[in-house]
């Protein structure tokens, strides 16, 4: 039972909806025993563009990583269409933060995009010509097909971001997790990403995007998760993205949670 249930006596939230692409129940994540996400309960409806909004250190990236089993969960579980991530991996695509890798690495844009196909190629098998062609098509899709054979350090920041998006496209997933794809990109790339998101939505895909720029939230997303170490609110953008909620998310009312976290770490 989560603290939210204890405090507010809300009904039984333990049922995972088998139809929700992503269903998070009672998720708590801690680094070195210090909780950074408390009791997250969420059901994401299918075919939505979902913005994950919150201040620095709110646990936005951590939420994504916990969903993908990249960080250990202190408690709780995450289901994809009713099943665990382990079983549904092939349905999920992931775009990590651009800064998370070394762009000096000796590979071309095409090589990186082909990595999105590794799950399908299988172990110990080489990347074939067909895969390289598919990678080229994914790069065409994000508008930088002509740069396919450039080494990745010779691309601009926006182009590098598009390489990551192309890699996720190559995964051909139902559900996408994107960690700050709009961070420090040029206007052309921003337009390209927005176009891509709309296209994925039209195909019925569900996309969760960690986002920083509050000014564009209502323009880009039809569903938002307001996060600050816990879920402040979650729902359709026009209902949830309100001044009051933003104040709750960004205001300094959460020191209690932060202090409790520190106490747990030292205890």
């Amino acid at each position: 039972m989560s603290t939210q249930d204890l405090l507010f006596g809300e009904g039984d939230a333990s049922e995972h909806s088998p139809h929700a692409p992503v269903s998070i129940h009672d998720l708590t994540v801690a680094y070195h025993r210090k909780p950074v996400l408390w009791d997250v309960d969420l059901d994401i409806p299918e075919g939505k563009l979902v913005g994950i909004i919150g201040p620095n250190g709110a646990g936005k990236s951590t939420l994504i990583k916990a969903c993908l089993d990249l960080v250990p969960r202190a408690s709780g579980e995450v289901r994809f269409f009713g099943k665990t991530y382990r079983k549904q991996r092939s349905l999920v695509g992931y775009v990590p933060q651009r800064e998370s890798v070394d762009w000096d690495f000796p590979v071309s844009a095409r090589d990186v995009v082909a990595m999105g196909l590794y799950g399908k190629i299988g172990w110990c098998r080489p990347v074939g010509r067909k895969h390289r062609e598919l990678a080229g098509q994914a790069l065409d899709h994000v508008g930088i097909g002509h740069l396919a054979d450039r080494q990745i350090s010779q691309l601009s920041g926006g182009q590098q971001q598009r390489v990551f998006l192309a890699r996720a496209l190559a995964q051909n997933a139902q559900i996408y997790f994107m960690d700050e794809p709009f961070a420090a990109v040029d206007a052309a790339t921003e337009r390209a990403i927005v176009g891509l998101l709309k296209e994925l939505k039209e195909k019925g895909r569900t996309v969760l995007v960690v986002h920083h720029d509050l000014a564009t939230v209502s323009q880009y997303f039809d569903w938002v998760i307001l996060l600050n170490m816990r879920v402040v609110d979650c729902g359709p953008t026009e209902k949830v993205f309100t001044a009051e909620n933003l104040k709750k998310t960004y205001g300094g009312k959460l020191t209690l949670l932060a202090e409790a976290g520190n106490a747990l770490q030292q205890g």
Binding site: D69, L70, Y94, P96, F105, V107, Y118, S153, A188
Partner: protein, 452 residues
């Protein structure tokens, strides 16, 4: 001279084995060292090799206690790999259980295990009836002691590394480039890391005898680091690193065979270092010389373009016509000099440089006339400069008086794509008028107001 020839080209039976073994070792360590380098774990190899020493001593003790000869090489190497891997295990353990960072954990393990090894070897010397002399050759390496079985062992390990790198190429690549993505695909990242480290330790252990545990790390890192200067492609990097490793081993072992006072390990490292230095300077992909010459070329181009634009702006002012319909006439040297902050010497040099590009029709010391191609280039440069200025004013909210300097640096690097984007944004095709009025940079330009 004859001996040199015979040793270098493996005609001499005594040294053929040693040289060949070292070449194979170099190829294998160049290969697996490349992955180690890209995984940013180079120093892990160092911790591993130092941690081998206590294993050698302990294995000797066990074998003597079991009544066997203490010097059986396979036995010693098994001992070495056990403590070597234990050392790596301790590094990972310290890192995961505490908040001690990688480098500190490796420093601790490396020195403690080496110290332990020295102590154990000291103890071994005191065992009666057991000749422990020669164990310390593992510290610095001694190629001359190698026999045919050692060669077979080395060849086997090298073959293993080659096959594993080929089969797991794509897995290792993703592991090194983007561990998080690999884990999101459900890959057993830890197991892959273990496989990689096991291959590194295999190369290290069989290399102990030839190169010694202190210098083997050089064999793992230097060829890989040198190869990176030659190529931007991982497959080529592996090939180049293996080649550099092989050549270092070949030259190093041959030299050592010819000059018996010199241990092979040291010579190999020095040869590898020489190749590294050469690569750093002259590497085709990212060598220093290449980068510098690219900078110099850009600086020259920038200077030339400034000259052309200055001439074009003078023509504009003198003819007082629309920028698109100017005719190419001579301008005076002094006028150009006044437009920018060049010294006469610098301006003459710029004119010479432009002349080499066929941008100048004639220059008699007083007057200067652009060639056909120079005039075209001048119009293009001027146009790019102004497009950028106008973009800065209209789209980036920068004061008109400040844009000239910014545009000065950007105009030379505008790609055709960017120019098209600017044209689209500004809805312009021809050469626009200068947004800050024509004339001297900075002064004067300000109060003439803007044309927007």
């Amino acid at each position: 001279m004859d001996t040199v020839w015979r040793v270098l080209f493996l005609l001499d039976y005594n040294t053929r084995l040693v040289v060949l073994s070292t070449v194979i070792l170099g190829v294998a360590s160049g290969l697996i060292g490349s992955f180690l380098l890209l995984r940013k774990r180079s120093l892990m190899g160092d911790a591993l090799s130092h941690a081998c020493l206590p294993g050698i001593g302990l294995a000797f003790i066990f074998m003597v206690m079991a009544g066997a000869s203490g010097k059986s090489l396979p036995g010693l190497l098994v001992g070495a790999s056990i403590t070597g891997l234990a050392g790596v295990g301790f590094v990972l353990l310290i890192r995961n259980l505490s908040r001690v960072k990688d480098d500190a954990a490796m420093g601790i393990v490396l020195s403690v295990f080496f110290g332990l090894g020295v102590a154990v070897l000291g103890m071994v010397q005191t065992i009666p009836d057991a000749s422990a002399a020669g164990l310390e050759t593992f510290i610095y390496g001694k190629t001359a002691s190698m026999v045919f079985n050692d060669f077979l062992l080395l060849a086997g390990v090298a073959f293993l590394v080659l096959v594993a790198s080929a089969i797991l190429m794509k897995e290792f690549t993703l592991l090194c480039f983007d561990e998080g993505f690999a884990r999101s695909l459900g890959w057993p990242v830890h197991r892959l890391d273990m496989i990689m480290l096991a291959l590194v330790s295999a190369v290290t252990v069989v290399g102990l005898q030839a190169v010694g545990l202190i210098l083997i790390i050089a064999f793992l890192i230097i060829p890989a680091a040198a190869a990176r200067f030659w190529t931007d492609d991982l497959r080529n990097m592996l090939i180049v690193a293996a080649a550099i490793g092989g050549v270092s081993g070949w030259l190093g072992a041959s030299t050592s065979a010819l000059l018996p006072g010199l241990p092979a390990g040291a010579i190999i490292v020095l040869v590898a270092a020489a190749i590294f230095l050469f690569s750093l300077l002259f590497g085709r992909a990212r060598g220093v010389v290449r980068r510098l010459s690219a900078q110099v070329r850009l600086r020259r181009k920038v200077g030339r373009q400034h000259l052309l634009r200055a001439v074009y702006e003078i023509l504009e002012r003198n003819q007082n016509k629309d920028p698109g319909v100017l005719s190419n006439e001579p301008v005076s040297f002094d006028e150009v000099l006044r437009l920018r902050t060049w010294t006469p010497v610098r301006l003459r040099r710029l004119i010479q440089s432009a002349n080499r590009e066929d941008h100048i029709d004639r220059f008699d010391g007083v007057n200067l006339r652009l060639s056909e191609s120079g005039f075209g280039e001048a119009a293009r440069t001027t146009r790019n400069h102004r497009l950028w200025e106008m973009f800065l004013i209209t789209h980036a909210d920068i004061a008109p008086s400040h844009v000239d300097r910014d545009a000065d640096s950007v105009e030379h690097v505008l790609s055709p794509d960017m120019v098209r984007e600017l044209e689209r944004k500004l809805d312009l095709r021809n050469i626009p008028l200068s947004p800050h009025g024509l004339g001297h940079v900075g002064v004067g330009a300000v109060d003439r107001g803007t044309g927007i």
